[in-house]
């Protein structure tokens, strides 16, 4: 097992190199002069010369990349975003990442709490109107564009819930952890926690839709497959009640594919739910990338994408490793 984990860890290192290089290339493509792109065509000759020196822009692209990566690995330095407020990209990402984690976690909790029971109900009452109803809604859930659903929720519930950002802008919350729910609970501002929570409701509902629908579908399919197996028939033959068969025998085995799916989805959501965050102006990684794209800020695009890809790879790795613990049938050599 340890050797498996070590091997997977080692294998993800070259993957990270290749992905980051690809992102580096894509963010610098488009045929513009790199100095212009980084400075937004507004630099004085001195700044231009400094930026050229700083990012080795007069050298081949591989040298530029190696220098850039070296900065990240040795100093956590993602360069400076000259276009978006002239701040270090690393600092900007540091502020944007916690809100994304917060939103993704809230969405996952909704998906698990509603999706798994919905899938179970559907499997138990298979081919009844309950099943058709749940599966119909799930199919709608994966068919509906999340950004449209977000807009509909704003139309329908926008008067009850605050829209935009993760806290009332008039409230001054000291960013201790970056997680608004925690920071607002720690702050002296009256009603801050409730306000943060209310800001979270609609974005979390929107973001939860796809993982929720997929969880329900997978739970149903997986449970039905397990219910058809011999050991379930044995359990039934012993005279156990239907509920006990499902809860004690079938459910745990049926959960394995669900756990994989949830891990994968969580990785996606942590990657910045670009569309949901845009609809609700959520100050996370997704809106950061979109802002960077619209202001054509290559340093910000590149840094954010590398962080997102790294998160995604690490989460997937963690899911695979977790898998080995959850499922005793899997033996890694």
């Amino acid at each position: 097992m340890t050797s498996y984990i070590v091997r997977r860890l080692l294998a993800s290192i070259p993957l990270l190199f290749v992905v980051s290089f690809l992102v580096f290339l894509l963010s610098r493509a488009g045929g513009r002069d790199p100095v212009d792109a980084i400075l937004g065509e507004k630099g004085t000759p001195e700044t231009r010369a400094r930026v050229t020196r700083e990012y080795r822009l007069d050298r081949p692209i591989l040298v530029q990349y190696a220098h850039y990566l070296g900065g990240i690995l040795t100093r956590g330095d993602f360069g400076v975003s000259y276009i978006m407020q002239e701040q270090p990209v690393g600092e900007q990402i540091g502020r944007r990442f916690p809100p994304t984690i917060e939103l993704a976690t809230a969405a996952m909790i909704l998906a698990i709490l509603i999706g798994i029971p919905a899938g179970m109900v559907s499997a138990i009452w298979r081919n009844t109107w309950v099943d058709y109803g749940v599966m119909g809604v799930s199919l709608l859930g994966i068919s509906i564009p999340v950004f449209w659903l977000g807009l509909l929720l704003i139309f329908a519930l926008g008067s009850q819930f605050p829209i935009g950002g993760n806290i009332d802008p008039s409230m001054i919350i000291e960013p201790r952890t970056g997680f608004m729910l925690i920071d607002s609970a720690l702050s002296d501002e009256p009603g801050a926690f409730g306000d943060a929570l209310r800001h979270l409701v609609l974005p979390a509902m929107t973001l939860a839709t796809i993982p929720l629908a997929m969880t329900a579908r997978i739970t149903r399919a997986s449970l039905l497959e397990v219910m058809g197996s011999d050991y379930i028939r044995t359990a039934r033959a012993k005279g156990l009640t239907g509920f006990r068969v499902v809860s004690r025998h079938a459910f745990r085995n049926a959960l394995i594919p669900v756990v994989t799916l949830l891990g994968l989805e969580f990785g996606y959501l942590l990657g910045g739910a670009v569309l949901t965050e845009t609809v609700f102006s959520w100050p996370g990684m997704g809106t950061y990338v979109v802002d960077a794209v619209f202001q054509t800020d290559p340093m910000a695009i590149c840094g954010a994408s590398i962080v997102i890809a790294t998160t995604f790879i690490v989460v997937n790795l963690a899911v695979d490793v977790l898998y080995a613990f959850v499922d005793p049938r899997i033996r890694y050599t």
Binding site: V19, P145, F155, V274, V290
Partner: protein, 280 residues
């Protein structure tokens, strides 16, 4: 592959037929919208912007006074075309890649698998955004971006099927008869792996439409002014204070199209899945 029996299963699949009907209706609407509508999709009437649905404009007008009904029809052509073309591109690249990786194994498999891993290391929409940033705006750029991000799905599916088929007798027989590797692969192996590819392609059109609409919604899709559902939703969101109808109708069109495709695709999978035959 699709014999009469499977077709019969499909025809009895109520959800699939509902999807097919819905999809046909949408295609017919898009194709014939000009017959019902006196307006040009690009015609702007500055005196009648963001009008609510009425007798003269069945679904109202948008923020530049264009008829939404007409634009939805033309948008359907664009959105469905983008979906189909993007999936075509994903298949054209993904199927041969996956087939070669699965059949040849060794270094070919290694190289292809690593490429796919790299592509899968970025969330779909982010990869599409990065490609769109690199190659610019416009319809062909959009098709390219959405098509590229769809490659791994096809390649993985085909690789898996080919791996399973590779050692079967009829493949060995083809090789024993002296057929070349490529001939064996594309004349014997791939045709036998077509079922799952068809299902994936069908469902893929739905997700391609969603990804493309997402990019257009962000403003990274088609050129401004092109009637496309995602772009209309983008305009609808911008004008939402003056009336929600543009956002509602364009989003509804995307949802109906994707739902129809998913209904049909699920039915197709049930019909083509050998395990499902017993149930039917």
């Amino acid at each position: 592959m699709i014999d009469k029996r499977k077709l019969k299963v499909l025809r009895k699949h109520k959800a699939a037929m509902l999807g097919l009907g819905l999809l046909t209706a949408l295609v017919l609407f898009s194709a014939t919208v000009d017959v019902f509508s006196p307006y040009e999709p690009g015609h702007m009437d500055q005196h009648r912007v963001m009008e609510k649905p009425s007798g003269s404009h069945v679904l109202g007008t948008d923020d530049t006074g264009r008829d939404i009904f007409t634009r939805l029809g033309h948008g359907g052509r664009v959105s469905l075309l983008i979906g189909l073309a993007a999936v075509g591109l994903s298949m054209a690249l993904g199927v041969p890649l996956g087939a070669l990786a699965g059949y040849l194994g060794g270094w070919a498999d290694l190289v292809v698998s690593r490429i796919l891993e790299v592509m899968l290391a970025l969330p779909t929409i982010l990869l599409a955004i990065l490609i769109a940033v690199a190659i610019g705006k416009g319809m062909s750029a959009l098709i390219f971006a959405v098509g590229i991000v769809g490659i791994p799905q096809f390649a993985r599916q085909v690789r898996g099927s080919v791996l399973a088929l590779r050692e079967q007798d009829f493949v060995q027989a083809s090789r024993a008869l002296g057929a070349s590797t490529l001939r064996t692969l594309f004349r014997e192996v791939v045709p036998n792996a077509l079922g799952p590819i068809i299902v994936l392609a069908t469902l893929g059109v739905g997700s391609a439409i969603l990804t493309a609409a997402g990019l257009s919604f962000l403003g990274l899709g088609v050129e401004t002014g092109t009637p496309e559902w995602g772009a209309m939703l983008h305009e609808g969101r911008r004008a939402v204070e003056r009336g929600p109808h543009l956002a509602i109708f364009s989003g509804l069109a995307i949802t109906l199209a994707v739902l129809a495709i998913n209904l049909f695709g699920d039915g197709l999978r049930d019909a083509l899945d050998p395990k499902a035959e017993k149930k039917a």
